[in-house]
């Protein structure tokens, strides 16, 4: 295969568009895709402060790298989730990435600041903390951004993530979530910062190729809690389909965003309106106590009972 840009030997094949790029031309292609999405979806402008949600994995580091290369003012934020060695290693990768490039990385330590860690939040049915972990991340990324005056939170969600989420929401007919899925969540309250996903049309493989070619030192191992996650099963199925039909994932997601989403009741309705402030933390919520504060109570209880067990 030949590089689409320079006709030299190619390294990365993009099957869905029947093209390929060499390692020298690939990063520019990747960043052009990111820029094109930022502009087309009006995600943010160059004079705005962007907070990148960083996990130490390939997607968030590739996003942070691409945004700074494109000349955006992007700082990082890492949440210490307290998932054993995995958390320690991913924190080290995130810190190294920031310090090598002179970038600012904000951090929140869940255990220290809140008195619980993600493993305290196991769901009784699935035995996994992932749903709660998602809430933790959304809450703290938003809160830090709002408190420090960032205008937008950018996450590294890629095409595979978004297609798998869409697939799950269709499988279970989560109509509420379907209506809200998209690359941009507008702010509907002064304390709810705009959320964007600049990589949403780039596949996981394309993001990994960018990270490898740019020699980004990311954490390769998975969070131990991810094993058996439904999202992995969906990704596997979609990649089996992709094998036979290159472009299937892209068509599924982009087709939905262009045509399906508007047909869903409540579609195009971004973050919930009709909000008041949580009586404990002041974050916007529809109820008295926000979902995060309720969950944090559970987490602290669990953490305390674990500590009591070890003290005995």
């Amino acid at each position: 295969m030949r590089c689409h840009a320079c006709r030299g030997p190619a390294n990365v094949e993009i099957r869905r568009s029947r093209t390929a790029y060499c390692a020298r031309c690939y990063p520019a292609w990747f960043r052009t895709q990111v820029q094109e999405r930022i502009d087309h979806e009006r995600m943010f402008r160059r004079d705005q402060g962007i907070l990148v949600a960083v996990s130490g994995g390939k997607d968030s580091l590739a996003l942070w790298h691409a945004l700074t290369e494109l000349g955006y003012r992007a700082d990082g934020m890492y949440i210490r989730l307290g998932i054993g060695d995995y958390s320690q290693r991913s924190q080290a990768k995130s810190e190294a990435f920031a310090s090598e490039r002179g970038l600012t990385l904000h951090q929140v330590d869940l255990k220290e600041a809140q008195g619980f860690a993600v493993p305290d939040l196991l769901d009784t049915r699935s035995g996994k903390p992932c749903a709660a972990c998602g809430t933790v991340k959304r809450y703290h990324f938003n809160k830090v951004a709002a408190d420090l005056g960032y205008e937008v939170v950018a996450t590294g969600h890629n095409l595979d993530d978004e297609a798998a989420t869409l697939f799950g929401n269709v499988m279970h007919w989560n109509v509420d979530y379907l209506g809200r899925q998209g690359p941009v969540l507008a702010s509907t309250h002064p304390k709810l910062v705009r959320k964007v996903k600049p990589l949403y049309r780039l596949s996981e493989r394309e993001t990994a190729a960018y990270a490898i070619i740019e020699r980004l030192d990311y954490i390769l191992e998975e969070c131990p809690m991810a094993k058996g996650a439904k999202s992995l099963a969906y990704k596997g199925m979609l990649n089996a389909l992709e094998e036979e039909q290159p472009g299937a994932k892209y068509g599924f997601l982009v087709g939905f965003l262009k045509q399906g989403r508007h047909a869903v009741p409540g579609g195009d309705f971004d973050q919930a309106t009709d909000l008041r402030e949580c009586t404990r933390c002041g974050q916007p919520t529809t109820g008295e106590l926000c979902a995060y504060c309720k969950m944090a109570d559970r987490g602290r209880k669990k953490s305390a009972s674990k500590a009591a067990k070890y003290a005995r």
Partner: protein, 65 residues
Amino acid sequence: MRVTILPDREVREVDARSVGELLKTLGLHRDAHLVVRGQDILTSDVSLSEADQIEVWPVISGGRR
């Protein structure tokens, strides 16, 4: 040839003439992996030889993000 599969660095001996064939033999999806020789990512049509040292990098991560 010797193939190292990340992240656990499991080593396998595989007979394959090209990158595409290698992934097929290992039963791995093309869109879920990158095949690397030395510093280079390889496209699926690249021919492989017995002496090649190959790494297979999985690219899929799980959980809710």
